[in-house]
Symmetry: none
Subunit: 201 residues, 4 copies
DNA sequence: TATGAATGAGCGTTCATTCAT
DNA sequence: CATGAATGAACGCTCATTCAT
């Protein structure tokens, strides 16, 4: 039986750190190998291609997003609208923490890769769309709850578009935060997210 | 009064067409030269670097955006809130036209380049920030007008953040439109933009 | 008396299928392992090197050639000249069968590998020469018989060169059949083989 | 106006020397650059791909073959059958000359590349077929002349196949000469070529 | 003023092979 | 007995840029 090691994991973690920061074309396979401490020839034993490594990064990043942002919110007993605000606050917190360590604000990994590769890599693009639909799923759930609790003034049929608007706003905020390298953008923009749901009074 | 060669212009137009579609790293200098029909050696006679060509693309694109979107809205006699909706409608129209010709939906050139190069090229990043502040200027003007016309329920001091929220939303919508290659996103999301301004009743 | 694993045989069969089709450099060790369903580490347990696997392919292919072409001809009671024609006909039949299944015409495995590696791998080259001398042995036997039966107008001392000429012709026909992907070349060229032996009348 | 140099020619000459000797996969782009004394990045300025360089090698090699072998024979006043023999003698001479300098016997460049890439590169394969049809053209012309001069006992309709048989024999002889690294093969096999044409008496 | 020719560094990927287990 | 894991060198090719003319 062959040797065992955490090389694959190290490579994935390295990619999950460097790719969201610099984008797909901004990080080379060689650099990933150097940083992860694996030899260049080993990359393609561990992953079939750079594309597939990035797919794995997207999946891992989604797992983290779910675990550190969505699941805690889901299992809390916050009101639906408070959940939306909490989503922004948690995102802000994570970025502020990174930022305080001198690291640049990443914004949203999915948006960064989706935007960069929209016209160039359909496999990655589809994966990003898939993850965005998971975001929208949570948003729609919260808005539906708010609708049922009569917290918002919205016709029922507008709920899906409102969830999508929330996704757009979220990704826009993340993008602007990235470009301005300013983690506080998330907290300053949280209020706008609530207004998108058109709360009563 | 000799005729000026149009090589520089052809190159700029080519870049303004290809770079927003495929991003900074997605288009090479050589390809730009081939498509524009100029010789590779001439590139660096016309522009000091790829970076500076892209700066010129950003400036040209901003000119176009101002001429085809902002100025017509400014000189119209629409109400402030209608101006916001009109901004989305005009953007939608432009993208839908391109899309009907089989071209991919670009989203916002500034966001695409800003997001891709945020951590890699401070010159381009600063130019994008500069242009975004021009966007915000228009938005703030409209919202201020709406505030003065008592169309919106917003404390005066929230106007700047609301303008910024509008920018975030705008860029988020453009990004999602790009990723889903769906020009209609703009019109479907227009309503949300208005809600961000918290209109009365 | 434990069961022997058939991994070695599967690998050999896979190589005997892929290498003649695509040549030595056209098939990689990894692909051979994938197709044969063995693990890459096992390759070098089963064979000391890619070179030696190919040597085994050459030997196996020679066995097949002897069994399916030479031996049936030897044990037939055809006249010597008919044996030469039969050699082309059998070769044609084998290639036509493969071709009818949509597979490319291989020509002669020995010539393919000998030609490709003549200046690069002396071990394989020598093996090919060795097998060619077995071909020549059969040819010389048939021509000698024809000489003794007074079927051909050839001085006795020209027999070895004529046998070699037959080998050259055979390999040339196979090569052209491969390049033109045309199995019928063998049958159309059979007549020429006879003329090489200079039959009487 | 840019600098001028013979880099392209040097690269082509280097390739025309190394590729026939070691085959397509046997020579790398880097090595070609090193030997030709050009920098690795320049290769793709001079040729669009390795494949196209080899196409140029094939064309150049054909030019040489025509100039040093076919044209002198054509313009001689040898009899048709003597032309066939002369073809082998000239080929033998060229190879023997190379061989006497310690260089390996190449055989036929077209056959080497055609055989190696028959199933892998249709562009190169087609070029080889094209050149082979030029060979056949000369052969057919000679045989037709011999037929008209009543030098050979051959029905008229067998001329095309006989020309093709001559091509097969030629390429087979070249291949065996390569594999045995023996230039004399050409002269020893010349007689066989004549017999393929079935000369009278 | 304009450009044909060239460049070194780096791209993502594949190679035949090794070795601890 | 057999293999999962790994490797360094090389693969064909593209990059943004330079410079003599």
């Amino acid at each position: 039986m062959g040797r065992k090691s955490d090389a694959r994991e190290r490579l994935l973690e390295t990619a999950a750190r460097l790719v969201p920061e610099r984008g797909y074309h901004g990080v080379g396979v060689q650099e990933l190998c150097n940083v992860a401490g694996i030899k260049p020839g080993s990359f393609y034993y561990l992953f079939p291609s750079k594309q597939q490594l990035v797919i794995a990064v997207l999946e891992k990043t989604w797992e983290d997003t779910r675990n550190y942002i969505f699941t805690p919110i889901q299992t809390s007993n916050l009101s639906p609208l408070e959940k939306i605000r909490e989503f922004f606050m948690r995102t802000c917190h994570l970025h502020a923490h990174r930022s305080s360590e001198g690291k640049p604000v990443l914004g949203c990994t999915f948006a960064v890769l989706g935007g960069e590769l929209a016209t160039q890599d359909q496999v990655i693009n589809r994966k990003v769309q898939e993850i965005f639909s998971l975001f929208t799923g949570y948003f729609e759930e919260w808005i539906t709850q708010a609708y049922e609790d009569e917290l918002i003034a919205l016709p029922k049929e507008r709920i899906p578009d409102t969830a999508k608007a929330l996704l757009c706003y979220t990704e826009g905020v993340a993008l602007i935060a990235r470009i301005h390298n300013d983690a506080e953008t998330f907290s300053r923009m949280a209020e706008g997210a609530l207004r998108l749901a058109n709360p009563k009074k």
